[in-house]
């Protein structure tokens, strides 16, 4: 065995490209599940992350929804945080300096009231030099407006275009699973200038306390995340990967490396670990290490070799009638 072969076997190349960013490995964090990085400093080494995606940052501070904000459900959880955050100026002043100490691309998640609002925050973050990429959160199910944009290709394009005009940073459109057909929406985001697409945000759901006969969440509904939604997320990532050419950041129920590999095989260039961090705060590292182990065990030298590598299924096109037969 040559020295090069030994090295390759020992350490597969995990790096991937998302827009202008080179990630040292394909593992990033789900916005809203990793705070602003500092909270987990004792447990997670930001220098070992592919990128960090921070909690949503809005133009003005938001107090969020009243409690209860989170309930557990079978295999998952519902959240209705309501985008509580200190606003963009607070982010720039209080949160960004910590993150900038690390060699880790920062993705800032940006919701907005309308295209102008999205663009204003994007512009401010760009000018201040406190983000390496902007993830447009056009898909938050827990606040007004949030959801509407990602349910319509035209509205999606409006938000993306508005932001594209004001930033050269890598622009990521975060899509919603709560739609009839995600493909035209993904296409619209790409055509409007998104450098990448992330999905999925949470699915709308609810839970009722039968003793008190009221909704468990003060907000009524919340967003479902966690292992329960993984099959749905995986299918949407596959669909979108068949539709767009820009890279995809896949997420939804990734708890371990094996889940992450499923997303990569389905066509995601990177993955985000969300709810898993609550259960296992070091999941981000375990997922990255596990992907490396999978590659080594299966004779791959680069993570890029498995992206979209799932063998195409014999999925019949929906317009061809099924064969029928009298039995």
């Amino acid at each position: 065995m040559t020295a090069a072969a030994v090295t390759a076997a020992a350490a597969p190349d995990l790096s991937v490209q998302i827009g202008k960013l080179t990630l040292r490995n394909p593992v990033t964090t789900g916005s809203g599940t990793f705070g602003f990085g500092s909270e987990l400093a004792d447990l997670v080494d930001l220098n070992r992350l592919g990128a960090v995606c921070v909690k949503a940052t809005t133009s003005h501070a938001r107090i969020g929804n009243p409690p209860a904000r989170i309930v557990e459900t079978p295999g998952g959880m519902l959240n209705a945080i309501g985008l509580q955050n200190g606003g963009v100026e607070n982010y720039i002043r209080e949160k960004a300096p910590f993150l900038r100490r690390f060699d880790c691309p920062i993705i800032v998640n940006v919701p907005g009231e309308d295209p102008e609002d999205f663009a204003a925050v994007t512009r401010r973050l760009t000018e201040a030099g406190v983000a390496d990429a902007i993830e447009l959160n056009i898909s938050c199910p827990n606040v007004s407006h949030g959801l509407d944009y990602a349910t319509d290709p035209r509205l999606t394009a409006e938000v993306v275009s508005a932001c594209r005009k004001v930033t050269d940073l890598t622009l990521i459109a975060k899509l919603s699973p709560n739609v009839t057909d995600i493909r035209p929406i993904a296409k619209a985001a790409q055509d409007a200038g998104a450098d990448a697409i992330s999905l999925i945000n949470t699915l709308v759901g609810t839970s009722i306390d039968i003793k008190r006969r009221r909704f468990r969440l003060a907000n009524g509904t919340g967003g479902l995340s966690g292992p329960a939604i993984k099959p749905i997320a995986l299918n949407l990532v596959y669909r979108v990967a068949q539709t767009v050419t820009v890279p995809i950041i896949g997420m939804g129920g990734i708890m371990d490396a094996s889940d992450a590999v499923e997303f990569l095989l389905a066509g995601a260039t990177a993955v985000a670990v969300g709810t898993a961090t609550f259960v296992n705060p070091t999941a981000v590292h375990e997922v990255a290490d596990g992907i490396a182990a999978y590659l080594a065990q299966n004779g791959f030298t680069e993570v890029r070799q498995i992206i979209g590598a799932v063998q195409a299924a014999d999925i019949r096109p929906r317009t061809t009638p099924e064969p029928t037969q009298e039995i």
């Binding site: 009243p66 409690p67 557990e72 959880m77 259960v279 705060p281």
Partner: protein, 264 residues
């Protein structure tokens, strides 16, 4: 420093109170860092639960490196804890909790602990910590429960000079009634400053905090809200503050100033 680790279980002792247990485990790093009011987030292999569950640090013994939690069996996680045996591995993250009980340092202050149910463990830890720093500290512990057999966790406190005030809803032991029934006497003694530290069911803490305010005595409350992550990242543990904002129960608390909290 917060760590994630598998702690070997040393002992799992049932208490006299039905369904209550103390689980002792080896965790020197936790023992070194944990302060009264902090907690650990436990993951038990329940299958049905996705999230960890918080349990207050009850004891932390630097001599042995052993820590413990005191719990009662409610649901899947506490059931799984009840079934653990010495040598099993306890999956935990901790110590968690950003703002902890802060002992009043005024000379001669009367420390009044008011606990109920699983509010007792952190207060016991606090009492022992105060005693270790000042063996002459004046301490009163008001412990409330439904009835006699549910009064737990205060063993050994009298030995370190704590005066116990037991209260039961049914009068089966001590004062017949709520903890707020004995507080006026303690707070009425104006000869020295007093300070209340309380942890327990929210209605109890609200009553205690309101009484403290009426007597103009400082009161620290440890809020028991559902804590999905315990790490400050999920924003799920909102505590409504009088300034209209929501604090995170886990890292902005769990201990708050009683006057800071909007009680529902």
């Amino acid at each position: 420093m917060i760590r994630k680790f598998l702690a070997p279980v040393i002992a799992n002792m049932p208490l006299a109170a039905p369904g209550h247990r103390v689980l002792t485990f080896l965790a020197p790093a936790l023992v070194a860092d944990a302060r009264p009011g902090q907690f650990v987030a436990v993951a038990a292999d329940t299958g049905v639960q996705v999230l960890r569950r918080p349990f207050s640090v009850f004891t932390a013994d630097p001599a042995t490196g052993e820590a413990s939690i005191l719990f009662s069996v409610h649901g899947p996680t506490s059931q799984a804890l009840a079934a653990m045996r010495p040598g099993d591995a306890l999956d935990l993250v901790g110590p968690l909790g950003g703002r902890v009980f802060s002992p009043d340092s005024r000379p001669g202050v009367r420390h009044i602990f008011v606990g109920g149910g699983y509010g007792v463990p952190p207060l016991v830890f606090l009492a022992k910590t105060i005693h270790a720093a000042d063996p002459h500290a004046l301490m009163d512990f008001v412990d409330g429960a439904r009835s006699k057999e549910f009064l737990v966790g205060t063993d050994g406190l009298e030995e370190i000079g704590v005066t116990l005030w037991l209260c039961t809803d049914d009068g089966s032991c001590g004062h017949h009634g709520r903890v707020t029934g004995v507080l006026p006497d303690l707070l009425g003694d104006r000869s020295r400053p007093a300070h209340i530290y309380t942890c327990g069911p929210t209605p109890m803490m609200q009553a205690v905090a309101e009484m403290a305010a009426a007597f103009d005595v400082p009161c620290q409350v440890s809020m028991e809200v559902f804590m999905p992550c315990g790490l400050g990242v999920c924003m799920g543990c909102a505590v409504h503050r009088t300034d209209g904002t929501y604090a995170r129960g886990c890292v902005d608390g769990p201990v708050f100033d009683g006057r800071e909290v909007v009680w529902q």
